[in-house]
């Protein structure tokens, strides 16, 4: 009788433990899915930040922007190979920059195109991770892609800033009030922060295992 009671208690304990374990795994899986969704939101945010000024000449004398182009406009030029267009809607003032610093503009456009490609891949990976909630390889890929994005955005910023001296001496004719500014640093910071999402997913999925 007592032996039967002990067996029943043990079974109850095992069931309870299994239920708690399942509950905990379920909660972790919900968290990883939410994190995958966050990753997708971050990718969309990074894509939106491509609409900001990739390179712009700021004139501090009257606090105005002289000429500028956005990330998407440099993608337009990078994909079409058209760096001399007067079409401001598609290419911004890229042709003015190209006149003074052609190699830097070409490099910046190429880097931005590669960044867009990495962002799209990251978006697809995050989408798959959110839908299937399969972690493992997705997390490793997501970490690599987020690191690549951060590196590419920083490179974009560095190339944009490197245009400063030739643009100030060429376009601004040495006007000290002029400087080349770039908002590419913003997505770079976001990309660095977004690295934490796949890392967190990786830790959680290991816990779930």
């Amino acid at each position: 009788m007592a032996k039967k009671k002990i067996i029943r208690n043990n079974r109850y304990e095992a069931d309870k433990l299994r239920r708690e374990n399942e509950k905990s795994v379920c909660s972790i899986r919900t968290k990883t899915r939410v994190l995958s969704c966050f990753s997708l939101v971050v990718v969309i945010l990074l894509l939106l930040l491509l609409f900001t000024n990739w390179a712009a000449i700021h004139n501090s004398a009257d606090d105005s922007i002289e000429v500028k182009f956005t990330g998407f406009q440099s993608i337009s030029a990078g994909l079409s190979g058209n760096y001399k267009s007067a079409d401001e809607a598609s290419f911004g003032n890229l042709s003015t920059f190209y006149y003074f610093v052609p190699s830097a503009v070409r490099t910046l456009c190429l880097l931005t195109v590669v960044t867009l490609f990495v962002l799209v891949v990251q978006g697809v990976v995050s989408l798959f991770a959110a839908i299937t909630n399969k972690q493992g390889a997705f997390n490793v890929i997501a970490i690599l892609l987020a690191a690549a994005e951060a590196g590419l955005f920083i490179a974009c910023y560095a190339v944009a800033r490197s245009m400063n001296d030739p643009m100030v001496s060429g376009y601004c004719k040495g006007n000290p009030a002029c400087s080349v500014q770039s908002t590419a640093i913003l997505p770079a910071l976001f990309a660095i922060l977004s690295l934490s999402l796949p890392v967190l997913r990786c830790i959680l999925s290991k816990k779930a295992r």
Binding site: E66, V67, F72, I75, S76, A77, G78, L79, S80, N82, K84, S85, A86, D87, E88, S90, N93, S95, T96, Y99, L116, V120, G123, V124, L127, I131, Y171, C172, K173, N175
Partner: protein
């Protein structure tokens, strides 16, 4: 899932299509005049033979030898070649078989000028360097000093006189 992938692919396609859309016709408006004209001055070879139209006022540029060049221009101050805090003009030397209206108040700060609408194309990418007498700080011609201005030729196919120029700015900025 399929819908999401389709949307992403569509977005990429739209970006690519928007990027590859080139034009052989440039109708400069009030919004696009300054940058369009600036780009044409930077890369004239890209616009030779392309259909271009714009509104401008006539301006007679006389070089130090007394040779006249009749141009279609607007006054400007900012941007490439114009950003030294000094006013200048941006436009083309007009090559036209017909009659180009005589310039009126060409250097005065007034919109009351001889306005025309021209259609045609950049005649050649060859620079025409015109040596003119420089202006002093007071805006008067300084006979002792000269400066060189660069212009390109515009082959005009049609020229129309603009009677109502109330919506046109003689002074353009970015």
């Amino acid at each position: 899932m399929k819908k999401a992938l389709f949307t992403i692919s569509l977005c990429i396609m739209v970006i690519c299509l928007a990027a590859c859309g080139g034009s052989d016709r440039y109708d400069l408006t009030e919004e696009t005049f300054f940058y369009g004209m600036t780009t044409m001055q930077l890369y004239p070879e890209e616009y030779v033979g392309k259909a271009i139209s714009f509104d401008c006022f006539t301006y007679r540029l006389t070089d130090v030898a007394g040779v006249d060049h009749l141009c279609g221009v607007r006054k400007c101050s900012a941007g490439y070649g114009c950003n030294c805090g000094k006013d200048t003009i941006i436009g083309f030397i007009l090559d036209y078989d017909g009659v180009i209206p005589e310039p009126r108040n060409q250097s005065e700060d007034t919109p009351d000028k001889s306005w025309i609408h021209v259609e045609g194309s950049v005649a050649s990418a060859e620079r025409e360097e015109i040596v003119i007498h420089a202006y002093d700080a007071a805006g008067q011609i300084d006979e002792g000093k000269t400066e060189t201005v660069v212009f390109y030729h515009f082959a005009v196919t049609t020229l129309t006189v603009i009677e109502d120029y109330s919506g046109l700015a003689y002074y353009v900025t970015k």
